[in-house]
């Protein structure tokens, strides 16, 4: 995969970052994108954290893939997160492959791509790596920070690690720790990649190839987990793919097979297999309560940030219960927390889709938070 990264925004983070694994990275690139304009009082900044396979290109056209940004439904002019009004920032996570330091980068010690030499990173490492970006942009306190799925996990970590750095926070469809089922699904994705002979212990980049088959299967696993049983049945049922009857072969007879194959093979064009290994590992290691003696309640102690947690009724990857556990912890720590469960059949993917109730909630919360933030600053 050859992509041009010259024209994307990148911050060279000079401050050394000691990772949870014990290794230190310094002078590393952090790719990011911004939308809208930061106002003079610098109180309209919204930080978005992206999910597993997301990137910094939240809306508009992604200049690398020439596809629409991953959250175009929610972010843009006059959208729920209105870029006419707010300054939206998103950084590519470290370990990723859209310009931030990741396993595809050249290891200065060997002059070869890192591959598995890349240090194992955590959600906390990802979040801490993004702190310098706010300094760089001159933002002392964010109006809001938000993110779905792994983006929500980063956000919870962000609030725990940098208390009161954001006036409000909207974690969406996430969890404060990965469940056994979450880990199992990620392991399935990793095993699919590692079982592809092209993967070659992560050294495929040396040959300028990509373990496409393994990576595509990994993506298919993901896609199944992003949809609900009912949503999938309604969308595909047993419908056949452009044919009248079974072919009596192993081609994609069913629409659902065709869909998965398409999603899988489209993904390999834009994503790095080793990045999937590293990022899924970071998600599996995520357990916010483990970081704090006293558990999750302790993690959110002394929070002045105003939270809105959103879950989707048919999400079985990060369930309503997972999200409610966060609400309970925030409540127990006395934080200002709202919670809404959006009723939908669209599963975990809902946060990326045009779900009117969800987008309405997002919009009204952010707008009222903006008024409150401005008032607070006036006082």
């Amino acid at each position: 995969m050859s992509v041009k990264f010259e024209n994307i925004k990148r911050l060279d983070v000079s401050k050394p970052l000691k990772l949870d694994c014990g290794k230190t990275i310094s002078n590393f690139p952090l790719a990011y994108e911004t939308y809208g304009t930061l106002n003079d009082s610098k109180d309209n900044a919204i930080l978005v954290f992206h999910a597993l396979t997301g990137d910094q290109f939240v809306t508009g056209t992604n200049p690398i893939t020439n596809k629409e940004g991953w959250w175009v439904t929610a972010v843009g002019p006059d959208k729920a997160i209105d870029t006419n009004k707010y300054f939206v920032i998103c950084a590519n996570v470290i370990g990723g492959c859209m310009g931030s330091l990741g396993p595809r980068n050249i290891n200065p010690d060997t002059n070869k791509p890192y591959g598995l030499e890349f240090p194992v990173i955590t959600i906390k490492d990802m979040v801490r790596a993004q702190e310098s970006l706010l300094d760089h942009l001159g933002i002392k306190k964010l109006l809001c920070a938000t993110g779905g799925s792994m983006g929500g996990m980063q956000l919870l970590q962000f609030c725990a690690t940098f208390p009161n750095k954001t006036f409000s926070a909207i974690p969406i469809a996430c969890s404060s720790s990965h469940s056994a089922q979450n880990i199992a699904l990620n392991e399935l994705a990793r095993q699919a990649i590692m079982a592809d002979p092209v993967w070659d212990n992560g050294k495929y980049a040396l040959k300028n190839v990509q373990p496409k088959n393994g990576l595509a299967v990994a993506r298919m696993v993901g896609h199944i987990s992003y949809l609900s049983e009912k949503g999938m049945q309604e969308k595909f049922g047993r419908k056949l793919q452009e044919k009248a009857d079974y072919e009596f072969s192993f081609n994609a007879d069913f629409q659902v097979e065709s869909y998965l194959r398409h999603q899988g093979y489209a993904f390999v064009e834009r994503f790095d297999a080793n990045s999937v290994l590293y990022i899924t590992r970071a998600m599996d290691y995520f357990d916010l309560s483990k970081q704090f003696r006293g558990g999750l309640v302790e993690a959110f102690k002394n929070q002045k940030t105003k939270f809105l947690i959103i879950s989707f009724s048919s999400d079985w990857l990060y369930t309503t219960k997972d999200n409610k556990d966060i609400v309970i912890a925030l409540n127990a720590s006395g934080a200002d927390v709202s919670y809404s469960e959006i009723i939908t059949d669209k599963g975990h993917d809902s946060f990326l889709l045009n779900e009117p109730e969800f987008l309405k909630t997002l919009k009204s919360f952010i707008n009222t938070m903006y008024e409150k933030f401005k008032n607070e600053k006036r006082i």
């Binding site: 409610k324 609400v327 927390v337 809404s340 909630t361 009204s364 009222t368 938070m369």
Partner: protein, 202 residues
């Protein structure tokens, strides 16, 4: 008319509460009461509400609200984490009102509950003279679609609190715009002429 009466109830409740306190409004609806308490009395409010549209409206008003079912989800609130817990006209709709009330007393130092009074004279006459389940402004549903599972009178609630050793600090009867204090001594008459009973327990 209904709205005016609602506001009267909320005003009575607001008058019962001290300024600058922390309040949980269980079944907070569209957040009208929370809004009133927050603006007029500088009370830090939290709401619990089941209905999606109501939750949305609270969020529109910038009021913190948790979507959830009070019957099953009160456990998430820590012991004595609020000065007051308010339950407006919903006690009778729970499967287990006693358990819910005990939960409210665990969460709040005091509990404010209001009940539509089944002892109100119009309610009584409807049943007595017409032999039909009463439908009134305060009890607008018919027998087959009412959410109320455990209708009670103001007197019933007095007796209940006595039996369960719950201390009624103050009880107020509401009839349209008129409010009056209810005591053991005037209970029979207030039970007859109040549409709504509001209790401060704790």
């Amino acid at each position: 008319m209904k709205n005016l009466k609602m506001k009267k109830e909320f005003k009575v409740i607001a008058d019962l509460l001290k300024n600058d306190t922390r309040v949980l409004d269980v079944g907070c609806g569209d957040g009208s009461l929370m809004d009133l308490l927050n603006r007029d009395k500088n009370i830090e409010v939290r709401g619990l509400e089941l209905d999606q549209d109501n939750v949305q409206q609270c969020i529109n008003k910038g009021l913190p609200v948790i979507q959830g079912d009070a019957e099953t989800e009160l456990h998430q609130f820590p012991n004595q984490s609020f000065d007051y817990v308010i339950l407006s006209q919903t006690l009778q709709a729970f499967y287990e009102p006693e358990r819910v009330l005990k939960e409210l007393l665990r969460i709040g130092e005091s509990v404010v509950i209001s009940i539509p009074n089944f002892g109100y004279w119009k309610v009584r006459t409807k049943l007595l003279f017409f032999g039909e389940m009463p439908v009134t402004k305060t009890l607008p549903n018919t027998w087959y679609n009412t959410p109320n599972l455990h209708m009670c009178t103001i007197k019933d609630l007095f007796n209940f609190c006595d039996e369960k050793n719950m201390n009624i600090k103050k009880a107020i009867g509401v009839n349209e715009d008129k409010t009056s204090l209810i005591k053991r001594s005037n209970l029979e008459i207030k039970n007859l002429f109040s549409k709504l009973g509001i209790f401060l327990i704790g």
